[in-house]
Every structure is written in C-alpha cells, then in structure tokens.
Symmetry: C2
Subunit: 324 residues, 2 copies
Amino acid sequence: MSARKAKPPVTLKAIARQLQVSESTVSRVLSGNGKKYRISAKTEKAVLELARKWRFVPNPLAQGLRLNRTQTIGLIIPDISNPFFARVARQIEVEARQAGFSIILCDSEEDTSLEIKSLELLEARKVDGFLIAPVGETTDHLQEYARRDWPMVIVDRYLPEIKLPYVSSDNFKGTYQAVKYLLERGHRRIACVQGRTASLPNRERVRGYRQALQEYQVAIDESLLVGNDFGLENGYIKTKLLLRQEKKFTAIMALSNLICLGTIRALTEEGMEIPRDISLIGFDDQVYCEYLRTPVTTVAQNEKEIGSIATKLLIEWIQSVNPV
Amino acid sequence: MSARKAKPPVTLKAIARQLQVSESTVSRVLSGNGKKYRISAKTEKAVLELARKWRFVPNPLAQGLRLNRTQTIGLIIPDISNPFFARVARQIEVEARQAGFSIILCDSEEDTSLEIKSLELLEARKVDGFLIAPVGETTDHLQEYARRDWPMVIVDRYLPEIKLPYVSSDNFKGTYQAVKYLLERGHRRIACVQGRTASLPNRERVRGYRQALQEYQVAIDESLLVGNDFGLENGYIKTKLLLRQEKKFTAIMALSNLICLGTIRALTEEGMEIPRDISLIGFDDQVYCEYLRTPVTTVAQNEKEIGSIATKLLIEWIQSVNPV
DNA sequence: CTATTTTGCACAATCCTTTGTGCAGTGTCA
DNA sequence: TGACACTGCACAAAGGATTGTGCAAAATAG
C-alpha cells in the first residue's frame, strides 16, 4: 500500500548494522555523549556522517517510551474560533515550537465535561504539561491535576481557589483606565455588562470599574452592573434589559469582545447610535474594532505576550521536573 | 518531584501480575479478542474488572510503536489567528476527536520554509496523515509527500498541479453570484482585488468574476483586476492605487476577508463611504461583517463544512491504508 | 616482561503493547 | 487404551531508543 512501508525505516539499528557498531554507540554519539562514553573520534565521525546522509530522525514514540517525556504540550481552549484565543494559541504554538515542543490542540467547546475529557485524553497521550484556558464552571478537575503536580499554566480565565501559575493581561487596570476615560469625558452613569462572575478576570475587571467610579466619588448603582457570561447573548439580552429599565445611563462598559458585539447589536436594534446617543467601551483587542460602524473604544489585551509568557512558564516548569 | 513518578503506572504488566496471567492474555481481552484466542469467560471477566477498577489506559506511545499508527493528525495552517482558519480548525478538531484522533497544530506563519519544516516535524512525529492549508508559493514539497502516498487533504488554498483531495467552498459560485448581484443593481464598472494569483481558490473566484461580467455583456477591463495576495496589505495598497488611476469604478469585489478589511481602511482614509460612494463585497463569512461600519456584503464560506469534510476524507484515507 | 590503567565499545535490560506460535492438560472417539 | 482434537493460556519477539555495567584489547607503568 503505502510507500512508507516499502523502504525500511532509518533507525539506530540500521545505522549500527551498517557501521558494524552497537546501537548504544550510535545513540551516545547522536545524543552528544560521545566523549563521555569514550567513543573514538573515528567512530563518532562515521556515525555522524551516516546519520546525516540517511537523514536519521529518532523515533519520538520510542524516545517517549524510554524517557517518559514527549516534548508535547496539551493546549485546551474553550473556543479556538474566538479571535482572542486564536491569537493566544498562535503565539503559544510559535513559542513552543522554538523550544522543541509540539502542541496537541483540544477545543473544550465551552463545556466543562469536554474539558475534563480533554485533560484525560492528553494525560493518556503522555503530554509533558498543560496550557489551559478553563471554562471555569467548576474547578475540581483542575485541582486534582494540580494536586498531582502536573505542570500546568492557566491562561486568561482563572479561578482564584487553584494554586497554579496564571497568565492574563491586567484586567483591573484595563477597566480602571477605560472607566476613568469615560468619567473624564463627563459620564457619570456608566452601566457595566460583565462576564462570568465567578472568574477572576471578570472580578478584576469589575474591581477596576468600581475603583474608577469610587475615585470620582460616583456612587455605584448596582442595578447598572449586570450580566454573568462572556458570550454575545449575554451582551445582547442584558443591554436590552438595561434599556428597558427606568435608570438611565450614558455609557456602557462591556467586559468582553463578544459582550461588546451583543451590546452593539442591541443598541442598533433599539435605534441608538454610538457615540451620539451612548458611549461604549469593549474589552479585548481586535483587528475588527477599527472597522466597526462605530469606532468602539477597546481595552487592549496583548495576546502575543499572554501566549508567550504562559508557554515559557510551562516549559520551564516541565524542564525543571524532568531535565533534558 | 512529580507525584506521577511516585505511584507505579497502570500497565498491562501490572494487571497481568495481579491476576497471575500473562500480558498477552490481558491485551487480547482488552482489545476485544478474548473469544478469538479462547480466553475463558472467567479470566476475561477478571481482566475487564481490574482494568476498569484501575482505570487502565493503554500507553499510546507503546501502541504507536508496535502498530505503526498514532491516531494523530498533523494540521498545518498558515495563520491560526485568521478567523477563517480558526473556524475551520475548530471543526477539524471536533470531527477528529469524535473519530478518536488528536490534532497536532502547526502554524506555518505564511512561510513556505516553515511549512516544509512542519511537514518534516509531523512526519518525524509519526502522524497518520496531514490536513494542510498550504501557503502556496511553491508546491514541490507537497508533491513529494503526495508521491510517497501520505494521506493528505488540502484545505482552502490549492494548487492545481498536485493530485490530492481538496476541500474548499465553491469559490467560483461565490464570486459569480456576488458580482451578478452587483450587476443586477446596475453596476458596470466593478473592480476586483484578488489574492494569490497562483492559487486555485483565487483562480476560481476570478473565473466567477469574469463569467458574471461576460453574461452581462460587460467587457472586462484588466486594469480593474488587481492584487496578488490574500492579506490586508494587498487590499489596502491596491485599493489606494485603484483610486489613484484614471479609470473609474462603482464597486469593488474583494476576494478575501483580509483584503476586504484593507480595502475598507483605504476607502475610509480616502473619505469614501460605503455604500454611498462605492459598493463593496467581500469574501469569507465572518461574524463581524454585520457590525462593520458599513454592512459589507460578504460571500459566505461554510468553515464548518470545509473542516468537517476534509477531516472525514483524511480519516477514511488513513483507515483504508492502515485498517484498525 | 608482567601488572595496571585506560581506551573503546558491546551487551542486555527497560519503557509498554501486540501477536504468532507452541505447549500442556482435558476431553472424545474408536 | 491410544490417537486425536480442543481448550486455555504462556512465551517470546518485535517495534526503537537509552543507559548502567562489564569486558576485551591497547597503552602505560614499573
């Protein structure tokens, strides 16, 4: 069938046989331990040359089996088609590749049970560690892996009860500055549509919102702080409800990119124009913002940096546990 | 260090020892070949129960080594942060997972040399097959893999000289209908900013453009057919140049989502409003379109379907080469 | 010229699973 | 009772790389 079966694979054994030496010798030379094991310069040269000529690449399955290390990272993302996560994922892939690691991608589809299955799958596949942006409904499964000392770094969303390294942008500062910007422009009644209330990023963003208002001596009207999900639906529905209540407001702070889109949709449907009738600030940097009907202001998150830092942290951890 | 090292792993051997049977017996039972090898019901039951109790999961490294099959697919994408590819990738992951395959993700960064490196890396990692959206500059490396009978399915971009299965939306029909739509609304001078001219999707899209114009007896002005890249830059620059030349036009057909964004930027900078001053139709479905300052019409590509079909094709191929 | 050290490498076990072969023990039939 | 079949499983090799140990031969010392 496949031509791959036809010609015998280039293995240590093949090289050893050809050169009339043992596999161990070949292995030691190729892993750079030639001198350490007193392989003669002549043998070393021969091995190196033949390996090059035959384009020898060690079989990672065999290596993994033997070394209990696969140079593989499991990446679990709630939705890779979310531009924010896609950009984070890209940087993770680039960074990991440069360090000699590959990425196995799992999309948890914003579903905790799939997140758990992904963890199990990746564990079974012997990944060296996890990068995960948790769905965030429950955390028992993450705690469990943390307890078992798996190298794992949390990205973006976080739940404070877990003791794991965590990388995201400065959520507090983001909303803090955004709301301050609105206040400076005279807004005093600023609504806020938030994401999953239990998540740390959301909590931090809300904290920034409160802090800014406080500094401007604006009493916080809890009826203007609504929402409980990072999705578009939440932004849409909560904005509709906000508009239907008696309390008035002149600006909206949307705590995610999707919420922001939902809010825009709702405002548009209600015939309100941004920023003529109302001001809107979103969260998460996106290419598209500048092309929006209204140039919506957005709090930038640096996905590249998030991805890069998270990956470096994880790889350092992996390598400290199981040195090369 | 790691707690994982502490407790011994659950292996066939461990189960065999506990039950005082041989590893082969355990293996046969667990792979469902109990009867075939005349394992007694009693033994079978005992094995099954202990495996369940101990949550035995076979080591995929050992399996891969033995079976020469890893249940892994290599996915190579020019830019995972491009929403179109991100959505395709998501569906691929979902579909592959359901068939028991995992995805190793490689981002070629729109760079052919990285694409080649990714192929080599994935081959070394013993993936069972490739899903690739090629950069498309050169194709020798792809030809090479095709020649070696690697299961490989091309997604989105394609170069006709390679004989490989190819999945994308109906590019011809997409622009054909879009341009017809413009013609029906009275446009006669329709510019077109195309993507990489060598790629099949682009050729098909251009063919649709020409066909529609022909059917309306509109002579094709080649100076209105510009561009050579799918990126934003190309859309931006070529639109600027179009606006600076003497030939006038009333509509632009942008042959990718990024080109479309670049075009919008250029038009905006030149103070032109869509659709007051000019009409614009883009390519690729995106959530954001409806939120754009101008509701730009877009030719939809069904990423879910593309991802799904490509994955199914590949897995069928893999399984026909190396049946389970 | 013998005793000791050093050189240069081979052997074999190990990681874990799969699978072809083979061998005791029990049962069947003539 | 002896030939034969069948039952139920064990043994061992294979797949590829790594690594501790050990053993000859060569080099050096005395």
